[in-house]
């Protein structure tokens, strides 16, 4: 029996769906993207099924574009299947109200995942758009912009301390204190908390989870406004910020597509 991995999006999957799948020769296995291990099942799977819309942070969410990016990039032979109660005319969509209409032949004519494929519109916030705002250089939604400003100060301070041997009291007075790191950190945390749960049903949930863990290691130093010399002197703070940045860059590279405008295409 072939395997289909189910992302239920924080909503209980209908019993009828499980029964239907088994009737046509497919076994549904529920996966939780925030937890590790689910990616190991992908090479053997027939596809990934999303129960749409997902539910999180008190809102309906559409994660289909992000899954499309992930599968097209890493497992293009897998089918990205979508199931909902909406009436959607799409080759890989399964209407939960009309399961009896989909025989075994329907599964055979579903399509593999292509990045160019235009996905249907589902109710809920389009998470690919949200992610773009997350990475935008400006604007109130940008998480990365605030982190960049923090990293800029930490990078300059580390260099002064380690390379130029400038006394930390001087660095703190001239650079770190005026930068108001504690305020910036709070701003970053607020934005992060608003965003991060939205992506728990997406393939990037694991990476965001890692970033969340990284932030805990330096929260104390940040909230103290960077007064302590040691975490900066031993490179820990800058290292954590660099790791966070690297994780974020990986996400951006994989999921946020740079599109050229018509003028410069």
């Amino acid at each position: 029996m072939k395997i289909v991995l189910l992302v239920d999006g924080g909503r209980p999957a209908p019993q009828a769906l499980t029964a239907y799948c088994e009737a046509v020769g497919f076994r549904l296995i529920k996966i939780t993207p925030t937890e590790g291990g689910w990616q190991k099942l992908l090479p053997e799977a027939f596809g990934v099924m999303l129960l749409l819309p997902a539910w999180g942070s008190g809102a309906y969410l559409d994660s289909s574009c992000l899954w499309q990016h992930f599968l097209a990039d890493q497992y293009p032979h897998l089918r990205l299947l979508m199931t909902s109660y909406e009436q959607v005319d799409y080759v890989n969509h399964l209407d939960l109200l009309r399961l009896a209409d989909y025989d075994a032949a329907w599964w055979q004519q579903t399509q593999e995942t292509h990045i160019t494929e235009e996905l249907p519109y589902f109710t809920g916030i389009d998470l690919s758009e949200k992610l773009k705002r997350f990475f935008a250089g400006h604007g109130d939604d940008s998480v990365v912009a605030v982190l960049s400003r923090i990293r800029l100060v930490v990078q300059m301070a580390s260099r002064e301390l380690q390379k130029m041997q400038t006394p930390y009291s001087e660095i703190y007075a001239d650079l770190v204190k005026p930068a108001q790191l504690a305020n910036k950190w709070r701003e970053w945390r607020n934005r992060w908390i608003n965003y991060y749960p939205l992506f728990e049903h997406t393939p990037l949930a694991g990476k965001l989870e890692q970033i969340a863990l990284l932030t805990e290691g330096m929260e104390h130093w940040m909230l103290a406004g960077g007064k302590e010399q040691e975490p900066l002197a031993n490179g820990m703070i800058l290292q954590v910020l660099n790791d966070m940045r690297e994780q974020l860059q990986q996400i951006e590279k994989q999921y946020v597509v740079q599109k050229l405008s018509h003028t410069y295409r």
Binding site: G137, A145, S148, R151, L152, P178, A179
Partner: protein, 503 residues
Amino acid sequence: MSSKNYHILIVDDDAEFHQQIRYAFRRQFLFSGAINEKQLFEKLSGEGHFDLILLDLVLDDSETKKGLDIIPQIAQRYPNIPVIIVTADRSIDTVVQAMKQGARNFLVKDDFDYDYWEQQFSAVIDGSKLKQENLVLRAEVDRRRAQENEAYPFIGESTQIKEIKRILKLVSEEPDVTVLITGETGTGKEVAARYLHAHGARSKQPFQAVNLSAIQDSLLESTLFGHKKGAFTGASRDMEGYFSQANTGILMLDEIGDIDQNIQIKLLRFLETKLIRPVGSDQDVQLDVQVVTATHRNLTAAVAESRFRADLFQRLKAMVIELPPLRSRRDDIPLLLSHYFEVDDLQKVLTTAALDAMLNYNWVGNIRELKNTVNYAQLRARIQDKKRIDEHCLPTEITSEQPVIPVSFTQNNNTSGSAPTDNAGETPHAGPKNIDEEHALIDLDRIEKLLIQKNKVKKDVAIAIGLENTDNLRYRIKKHFEKHPHLFTNFPTISQSYRRIVK
């Protein structure tokens, strides 16, 4: 602070960013700041010189990329100040737009890297300064070239000269046509070539003039086409020839009628293929050189006598410009005298008798002879303590002699081979076999007389003829002797003074 003291203007609405950049680079650069467009232009117009502008694209809360519109304004009003975009926006669209508008580089705040940024600031400033220095040097080259052209003015308001100037201007619009300038020695063939250069498409490019008759035959090929190290004894390093030095510009080959067949073949090859091969090299070099040639010889006759290749002559005479001798445009003599005496009114420096003598003289050495005469007369006037030059300050042949060579002779001695329009004058020795021998005879007769007059002082004879030095006089006599050795029995003073040649 760096010894260079570069002054950078930061334009960013984030005051914290100003403070951080100032702090980080305080040892290397001097900074000023502006937080919006208005302040930016106030600083640029009021605070003196800036070496670099670091410009953010978003300068207020509107999130519009105003910086993109500011770049061309800066480029237009302050073209020497380079702009680096420093922004949080990393989208490809924005990068492309900024670079198209004229930004020199694009740095993303999120990618801050101290060493890289410092290197970029310095590189852009140094690059900009180098560009400015190049512009200054270019202007200096143009200025010197203009000065050089001023040093070779094409003076003349006679009908013939006006027409030649008109033709030269027309020809100068054709940067690839080969031009042959003919005319007697001293008629201003190089001046005409420089006039062509100054008014043409290649005016910003090099101009090289080389007198082929002044270069030893054995060295001519390497002098023109260059040589590789070890190509011959004494070739201790690679050397560029005149052709390479004139690349993209004009090369004037004077006395083209004097080159041997080997060089004629190589010149023909260049004119047909634009390729040269330095001596000792196995590689051809492609060059873009407009060739202007000049000669006082009758090339038609030289071709008939198989001394000059007919195919090369055909290539050279694509455009022939014949300069008239000075005696056929006497109207220009006062203009030339004014130029060389550097006065507007000749009466201030010349007596009427002296002027008349100069106006009536035949000027066999043409403008060069006139120029040397001016120098000679000025010196004589100083020696004789005279305020104005009178006929006693002039060389004796000007005041005492009748014209040596009639105008009709030189009209007969042209490249087009047109028929003489006047009767040939009396020649001192009868029976020349051809026009070349007739020319030699007249020339030798004149030199003979001058040697007697000048007590055999060769330098004075050279000056009187209009030659630059005694080497040229010796060369001239040698050429005559090589072609017409039998004539020398008629000129005992020359034979005595140039015993080694005649022997």
